[in-house]
């Protein structure tokens, strides 16, 4: 019975994640940027912008310059999470891709980095006055949720191992629209429940920063306003203004 509930839950969560995030991305992409507002010094070429964004996305360049502690914790968390996620590909591929096989041991250590990073961010949120001031309940809950996912995952790896073959059968089944038996284990149910919840809230929470980052005009625009005229669709529809100076206004 619970297997069916979880199967439905994951179908719904996947649809909401993909459709919701897709809709947000479409909305951002379709919203015009009326003016050129790259924060300078900014690249003068498209290639330069790709490099700038690469440094931002891969190394959090601006954060590195602005706050070293948040950068350290943020890097530990995000890179740790990336490796952990890649490691989880083994539940969705048969046979498992060679490079997924290869990173299995790293992925295990990465989970510690991830939790350490999240813990650091939570610590700062609670103990740094300025950050506590700007935090809403959802900001704490979001960190706790991801910590919860990571800790239950690590629990199943290190404390009370579960039948991961059955779990893999369950997910491979879902990918072929079959519902197989999910091992009834509290760790599994908690871990997967929280993951599904995270997927559902992704497009409607601050987690949307992940795709949103690619649409910030301050970082993604090329600094070439003098060379190329930038004009948004709505601005081109504004009523024309007179050419030349009206006779009665001449000095």
């Amino acid at each position: 019975m619970l297997s069916i509930v979880y199967a439905v839950l994951f179908y719904v969560a996947t649809i909401l994640l993909v459709v919701g995030t897709g809709m947000k991305i479409l909305k951002y992409a379709r919203t015009p940027a009326p003016l050129k507002i790259p924060v300078s010094p900014a690249p003068r070429t498209r290639r330069g912008v790709w490099m700038r964004m690469g440094r931002e996305v891969l190394f959090f360049q601006s954060l590195f310059k602005s706050n070293r502690w948040i950068w350290i914790f943020g890097m530990l968390f995000h890179w740790g999470m990336l490796l952990v996620l890649l490691r989880h590909l083994r539940y969705f591929t048969q046979p498992v891709w060679w490079w997924v096989e290869l990173i299995q041991p790293i992925g295990v250590y990465a989970s510690f980095a991830m939790v350490l990073g999240l813990g650091g961010l939570l610590f700062r949120r609670i103990f740094v006055n300025r950050i506590r001031y700007i935090s809403d309940p959802s900001d704490y809950l979001m960190l706790l949720l991801i910590i919860g996912i990571a800790v239950t995952g690590m629990g199943m790896k290190f404390v009370m191992p579960v039948d991961i073959v059955a779990i893999k059968v369950f997910f491979l089944g879902l990918m072929r629209f079959q519902i197989n038996e999910l091992p009834m284990n509290i760790g599994v149910l908690l871990h997967l429940g929280m993951v599904a919840f995270l997927m559902i809230i992704f497009p409607i929470s601050k987690l949307i920063h992940a795709p949103g980052l690619f649409f910030a005009p301050s970082r993604t625009q090329v600094d070439n306003a003098r060379e190329f005229r930038h004009l948004s669709a709505w601005a081109s529809q504004l009523p024309p203004l007179p050419e030349g100076i009206p006779k009665d206004e001449k000095g």
């Binding site: 940027a33 924060v39 601006s62 920063h209 980052l213 003098r226 007179p242």
Partner: protein
């Protein structure tokens, strides 16, 4: 935080850390409010004269409209994760300790309302995400704190997502204007510009008289007829400069510097009485339409006078509009000479002349000054110069070093893209905000005090009319003479020796 009593006129000697973190003091600057606009200031800009009866409805709809029209606004409202990297970056926060002056908290004043009306979480779980109804108190809070932001973008540099509080602050002012709550300073000035062509309300006759007086000064100084031409048909270059250059010190000395450079370069140039203002306050209030109208005058004047090039004088926000927006707002400029950048900055022109060797320069004429340079926020983070990335930092320094022997940099975290706003930008250069201006200048002043102590720096140069006016007023509060702030082209003016120049005989 102990209140800094800087209004006493006693110069506080606070050589210290420009980044010294204040203790949070809620409401520390809630009573610092700028005068509201009267109906006669709002209406010429197309805004309701007074607070609308259905203001709440209109304001909420306006948030939605702006989110549809401006990607930056939409994305910035959605993507903040409250990481806190920006919290210690604002000079007004560092100066006042009011937590609502932390960039993210300032954004949240509006974001909380956006969430309440436009997001799922805010509609159904407002307590969870800090969403709140738009009440009269919230509107008042917007007015207070969005007029304690100089839109300098220092926080945007710090943000991992590039969120630019300036965009939020401009949008907030646009929303306030749309319900009839404008700021007197900005709106009165824009209305004045629409009547007279400049922020001062100088009519062409007065402007001509002023320029003639300055020509006399130049003749006394050099023994030469150095012209400040007005409305000359067929001139090659149209100079667009802030109107402060016509009447305020040290801006005037900058204007005289441009005139000498043009004279030495042997180009024909003119000022226009119709477009006698570089500054564009339409940007401060986030109004695309008003900004476009103000910019359009430059196009009209350029066409009417039949010039080939447009050059901007020293003005920070003007240069952001000029460099980044002018082509959008008033282009295409296909009727101008395409072999020059459109528009060009006076520093680009002067640097070219220095490189060409057209200018005869005696650096020792600036030996009485030990200089440093204040990067103006909107030039630093909203524009560029020259052919290379970062030219907006390098060109002014190259020019200063070409005309001065003594130059020292302030701390790196307070210069170039990390520069602090002077404390008077973004429409806050008004006497009713003097307390805030003094506090906001503190990080810059502290960094300056440091180089004064270490290197004996006596003067600071800037390329922005607002910076210059602001520092003239606030530097005395920090132990400097009011004339310790100089125009970059004032230094050029001092050092340049024109062909046939006869120095006045010292009568002392």
């Amino acid at each position: 935080m102990a209140p800094h009593d800087m209004n006493t006129g006693d110069a506080p000697k606070i050589v210290g850390d420009p980044f010294k973190m204040p203790d949070l003091e809620c409401g520390a600057s809630v009573d610092t409010n700028t005068y509201k606009a009267a109906p006669e200031h709002n209406e010429p800009l197309g805004f309701p004269g007074e607070l609308l009866d259905n203001w709440q409805e209109v304001a909420i709809a306006k948030i939605g409209e702006l989110a549809k029209k401006n990607r930056a606004f939409q994305v910035y409202l959605d993507t903040c994760v409250k990481c806190g990297a920006c919290t210690d970056k604002c000079h007004y926060f560092l100066g006042t300790g009011d937590p609502k002056n932390m960039p993210v908290a300032r954004q949240d004043l509006l974001r909380s309302v956006y969430r309440r009306y436009y997001t799922y979480a805010g509609k159904y779980f407002p307590w969870l995400v800090g969403a709140r109804d738009l009440t009269r108190e919230v509107l008042d809070e917007w007015y207070t704190y969005y007029h304690q932001c100089s839109q300098c973008r220092r926080c945007s540099v710090a943000c991992p997502y590039g969120i630019d509080t300036a965009e939020i602050s401009m949008a907030a002012r646009e929303i306030l204007d749309s319900v009839g709550v404008g700021q007197k300073y900005c709106n009165e000035i824009i209305a004045k510009l629409k009547r007279t062509g400049n922020n001062l309300g100088l009519n062409p006759k007065a402007l001509r008289a002023t320029l003639e007086d300055l020509e006399e000064d130049l003749e006394e100084e050099t023994g030469l007829e150095v012209k400040l031409p007005l409305d000359v048909q067929g001139a090659d270059i149209l100079l667009i400069t802030p109107s402060a250059d016509f009447f305020a010190e040290p801006q005037i000395d900058g204007l005289l510097g441009y005139a000498k450079v043009f004279h030495a370069a042997g180009v024909s140039w003119t000022i226009s009485s119709y477009a006698s203002e570089a500054a564009n306050f339409g940007m401060f209030i986030g109004s695309y339409e008003n900004m476009r109208e103000v910019s359009w005058r430059i196009r009209q004047a350029a066409k009417d006078l039949g010039v080939k090039r447009i050059i901007f004088g020293e003005c920070g926000h003007a240069w952001r509009v000029g460099y980044s927006f002018l082509n959008t707002l008033a282009g295409p400029f296909d009727f101008l000479d395409q072999s020059y950048p459109i528009p060009q900055h006076i520093l680009e022109f002067t640097m070219d002349e220095i490189d060409k060797g057209t200018l005869k320069i005696d650096k020792s004429r600036n030996d009485e000054f030990v200089m440093t340079f204040h990067d103006s926020c909107n030039v630093a983070r909203g524009s560029s110069m020259g052919r290379k990335e970062g030219g907006q930092f390098d060109l002014p320094r190259q020019v200063i070093k070409a005309v001065c022997n003594n130059f020292h940099e302030m701390e790196r975290d307070t210069t170039r893209e990390n520069t602090f706003c002077c404390g008077g930008g973004g429409g806050l250069l008004t006497d009713d905000l003097m307390d805030l201006r003094i506090k906001g200048a503190k990080p810059r002043m502290t960094a300056l005090q440091q180089v004064t102590k270490d290197h004996g720096v006596t003067h600071m140069a800037a390329i922005c009319a607002i910076c210059k006016s602001q520092f003239t007023k606030v530097m005395p509060k920090y132990g400097y003479e009011m004339d310790s702030i100089l125009s970059v082209h004032q230094l050029v003016s001092n050092a340049i020796i024109l062909d046939g120049q006869v120095d006045p005989v010292d009568e002392d």
